[in-house]
Symmetry: C2
Subunit: 367 residues, 2 copies
């Protein structure tokens, strides 16, 4: 266990920025979670991150995170022990102790929740997650895609309500029931699910994503400190591609079934003068079109940064007139298999006419 | 246990009619449950009904029933073991065997569900229930009114989905979460809840209501066989009052939040010629007004019978032009305490301006 990385107070700002970028517009705001983590560290508790390959095969690992509408999470602030109580509920259900936690999605607030809970419970968090980004629905986790049952799953809210989804017909039913439950709870709650053995986690988790968020955020902070272009920094760090710089000239966004859905329309400027862009949203940015032609879509990452500061913009704070840079980052190979594309390809989001063409890492200059 | 009453095949038609009358328009249709009970009896299984005073103080009793929109229960037919699986889920949660079942509500389909499950599980059903009629929401059970927690509660549907509500802030939250869950499951599911000791059940249950449904139904069947007036028979059997005979001249009814809500408008005929009646609905009949003046309201029972056949009409089969008899039956004293009226009085249904004046049993000729 000498490869355990301790997350320090000074790392948290970087993790926040990196997680927000990987959130591709969704996943909830990591800001409050960052401060709760900081509070735990200042109390003397530890956030120990263990690499996937240090995880014992028989370790019991639980996937943890918040569920709900990101826009609600900003106003209905957590009590702070929701994830811990969800963890305890699943331990009660299994009648044994959980050895380590893993984030259901590294993108957004759910990067912080398992670190917070790890500090509270005194167990480590695994360096990896179930999405390598953020996605709006739970069956979109790699655990679920690669054959693990998400049940039992335990949900807890700030009102002491605890619900256990003990069994479901299939993975989509976990999402359906959990979504209905979280809406009844006020559209924000914690969920601990998919108790897994280390052996499976090593195969199914997107690896090293806490470290990835930390390095990415650190690179952005360094660029800011040295007055370098933060957008170029993100592109270099993640071997990504700048799709367009443009102004938001139209924005449709509505809350439907607990999700933020909509479209952004862009008018390009700079090198993109005269071009028109469009982005589809379901909590996250799903598809990018240039002049009516699809260029990038899920599961690859579409990231929106403020064109001036380079800071990530989440779907709930988009507004008319914003000047943004739209970036595309390649997703992990675990998300690109035929099996994964059935669950997180464009057809799964209501775009059966689109076919996923992976961003080419070699062409982008990556490995 | 020599006072145990065995429900026979020949009793089931009577229980069906009695339960439908006590359902005051709601509670779901007991027809399919009757046939499932019959099937169990024909297989050689037993429906043993034990009187409240025969129940051991330390017996573990679980309240059982269907939850959902009655109108859905008619079309989305149960697999038949939903309640049994809800029972097994609560046994797993408590890590012990349940000794006896009790109906959450005697009115409608939930008279049959515990008898069916008792036959399947080989345990007795208690002669009593949690409402003495039907009500639309779960916190309206006497267990809940008289201080018992409804959690843990276990829900099961026909798709193998099982959800456990392990803890809630209060009783209304059980209803809120269970309602959201059942809507996600397709608006019909089974729920086992409120694990109680016999000692509490003896104090809080509305007593003898299986026997009551059976005798009431038997009286109606006898009256039909001897060509006597079935409406007069119901009134005599339950010491009730005929409020109005009339024709439905207007009917507003809509499904809202999983409930059938609406109003019926009546034009009186016979002795009620020239009068106008109105009834408010939330799954059950809640309030009766004559010429704009409230005469009877919850928790007393408002029963609608077909004016010609005397058979009960449930809210989902009401239609324009129907000729109906509106009856009022006094509810049990357990539903009339100040504590009960807070939960099941007119204010709880959105009529804070109405005050409950109990139907007077003495005046009606009762004890």
């Amino acid at each position: 266990m000498d490869k355990v990385r301790k997350i320090e107070d000074s790392d948290l700002d970087a993790v926040e920025i990196g997680a927000a970028i990987l959130g591709t517009g969704g996943g909830g705001n990591p800001y409050i979670g960052k401060w709760r983590c900081r509070q735990e560290l200042r109390k003397g508790n530890k956030i120990d991150v263990i690499p996937l390959d240090e995880l014992p095969d028989d370790a019991l690992v639980v996937s943890l995170g918040g569920i709900g509408a990101p826009v609600v999470g900003v106003e209905k602030i957590e009590r702070g022990d929701e994830c811990l109580r969800a963890l305890r509920a699943i331990e009660q259900e299994l009648d044994c102790k959980v050895d380590a936690l893993i984030s259901s999605e590294i993108g957004g607030a759910n990067a912080m929740e398992p670190m917070l809970t790890a500090a509270q419970a005194g167990i480590p968090v695994v360096d990896g997650d179930g999405m390598g980004r953020a996605f709006p629905e739970m069956q979109m986790c790699t655990w679920s895609i690669y054959g693990h049952k998400s049940t039992p799953a335990a949900m807890a809210d700030e009102k002491d309500n605890v619900v256990v989804i003990r069994n479901t017909r299939d993975e989509v039913w976990v999402e359906t029931i959990a979504r209905a439950t979280v809406v009844s709870m006020g559209a924000a709650a914690a969920i601990a699910m998919a108790p897994m053995r280390g052996e499976f986690v090593k195969k199914a988790a997107v690896p090293n994503t806490i470290t990835q968020a930390l390095s990415l955020g650190q690179a952005v902070l360094d660029a800011q400190a040295r007055n370098l272009d933060p957008i170029a920094t993100v592109l270099k760090q993640e071997t990504g591609k700048l799709l367009m710089t443009g102004k938001i000239v139209d924005l449709e966004r509505h809350l439907k079934g607990g999700f933020a859905r909509g479209h952004i329309h862009l008018e390009g400027f700079g090198n993109n003068q005269g071009e028109r862009g469009e982005i589809a949203i379901q909590n996250e940015f799903l598809v990018f079109w240039r002049d009516g032609e699809m260029e990038v879509c899920v599961p690859d990452l579409i990231v929106v940064l403020d064109a001036d500061t380079g800071l990530p913009i989440t779907t709930e704070v988009l507004r008319y007139g914003q000047r943004i840079a739209v970036l595309a980052l390649p997703c992990h190979d675990l998300l690109r298999t035929p099996r994964a594309l059935e669950v997180i390809g464009p057809a799964a989001f209501g775009y059966p006419e689109l076919s996923f063409t992976p961003l080419d890492r070699a062409e982008l200059g990556g490995a």
